[in-house]
């Protein structure tokens, strides 16, 4: 299927076929990944209440630092998914892949990607800070009469946060294949990996979003099972994304040459 756009069902079929007989390792890796994600988002929230300006700034700073650490584990997780798709041997220890293969390059790349995400998150939390610091909030908080007013104000805060996360998701779509690129060609520069991702996502922006949305049903089902279903749904999603990456790579590099060393169009591999 080199050089052709595949249907979503084809990509998903590849993912299901690759998962057969390897669910144990994949579920284990997903459990570790989910536990780390949960911990990294919970600990800063417990430390900083987020009610003052300094609190919000420190909260976002800590979240940013934790997300950098978490991204290294997630890079390893994506490596496991890519290896699964290609039928290569996998183990839960591959979660530490990014720590042993040019971690500096990974950190620099995630510094850029997570930096953009954090800036958007910070901007979207400003309305919440304005509400919490307003005198009307001090008057209305905790009173029985103004429960409806309080709820509507809090709803506004969450609507801004939701819009922020939506914008963040859309902005970060072109970056989404950069981790796969870096896993495929360790030692490649972060800017080069991001450029490759941009090149692969060219004219495939909405296709990628549609692919993400096609998992909505499974995600709802997984939520109904108290998130336990995500242990199986997440690797399925990520392996399908790996299949998407593989398809784009086959289109750009039909002779399966290593990604990231196309020096004519992307410069040398020592960016940054």
């Amino acid at each position: 299927m080199n050089g052709q756009k595949q249907k979503f069902s084809e990509l998903k079929k590849q993912a299901r076929e690759a998962m057969a007989g390897r669910c144990g390792t994949l579920v284990g890796a997903t459990a570790i990944n989910l536990f780390l994600t949960f911990s990294c988002s919970l600990i800063p929230t417990l430390i900083f209440s987020g009610t003052t300006l300094y609190d919000i700034i420190f909260l976002n700073l800590t979240l940013f630092l934790f997300s950098l650490l978490l991204s290294l584990f997630q890079a390893g997780y994506l490596k496991i998914c890519l290896s699964t798709l290609r039928g290569e041997p996998i183990s839960v220890g591959d979660m530490l892949y990014a720590f042993y293969h040019h971690p500096d390059q990974y950190v620099l790349m995630f510094l850029i990607i997570n930096g953009i995400s954090s800036v958007i998150a910070l901007i979207s939390s400003i309305p919440g800070f304005q509400y919490l610091s307003s005198p009307s909030a001090e008057l209305t908080l905790g009173t029985a009469l103004s429960i409806e007013a309080e709820l509507s104000s809090l709803m506004n805060v969450y609507v801004y946060k939701l819009i922020g996360s939506l914008v963040s998701t859309l902005v970060l779509v072109p970056f989404s294949l950069s981790t796969f690129v870096m896993n495929d060609a360790p030692g490649i520069g972060p800017i080069q990996a991001i450029r490759q991702s941009f090149a692969m996502m060219k004219k495939n922006f909405f296709r990628y979003i549609l692919l993400l949305l096609s998992f909505l049903g499974l995600e709802i089902l997984a939520s109904c099972s108290c998130a336990i279903g995500f242990l199986w749904v997440m690797p399925y999603m990520q392996i399908t994304m790996a299949a998407f990456y593989q398809e784009r790579k086959d289109v750009l590099y039909p002779a399966s040459e290593p990604v990231g060393y196309d020096t004519d169009s992307f410069g040398s591999g020592t960016d940054l």
Binding site: Q14, A20, G21, C23, T143, A144, L145, C224
Partner: protein, 159 residues
């Protein structure tokens, strides 16, 4: 394979014929000592098409969703079962077990939700739920020392 370690019950790769046949090779069909050196067509490994373990898990979840139908457990087990059934397909079609599991889980979820709605409807009609909500509301207000009408605490302080 050298003549010293030659065994008529094993093929060139060392696999036993007994191991490939569940009950061993019948006496009449047992190959002669020189038939092993005949050109055999390459044996294709069986193509993996989906997971039977996931299909079986889906069936178990379907049974659990029926068992826990009355306490909303059907939604929990049913949704897990549907996920297992869908992922058990592999590259081929869904197996019979997975189909049964999927059908069972879907029925379990639908019936479970219907039972929950029927229960809520019955409570609303009979007024049970309203009293219950009122009781919880008053309990909440007492716990935080608030009066439900004017937002002041029971000891007279305004919040």
């Amino acid at each position: 394979m050298t003549p010293e370690n030659y065994d008529p019950n094993t093929n060139e790769s060392g696999d036993s014929y007994q191991s490939s046949h569940p009950y061993g090779v019948p006496e009449g069909q047992r190959p002669g000592p020189y038939q092993h050196y005949q050109q055999q067509p390459p044996v294709q490994p069986p193509r993996r098409t989906g997971s039977q373990a996931l299909a079986a898990a889906s069936m178990v979840m379907a049974i659990c969703s029926f068992l826990f139908m009355l306490n909303m457990g059907s939604l929990f087990f049913g949704s897990l079962g549907v996920i297992f059934a869908l992922l058990s397909r592999g590259a081929g079609r869904m197996s019979g077990t997975a189909k049964a599991g999927l059908a069972g889980c879907t029925i379990g979820i639908i019936v479970g939700i219907c039972i929950m709605y029927a229960f809520l409807l019955f409570n609303m009609v009979s007024g049970g739920s309203t009293n219950l909500l009122e009781r919880y509301y008053n309990q909440y207000m007492q716990e935080y020392q608030m009066t439900p009408d004017n937002g002041t605490t029971t000891d007279g302080n305004t919040i």
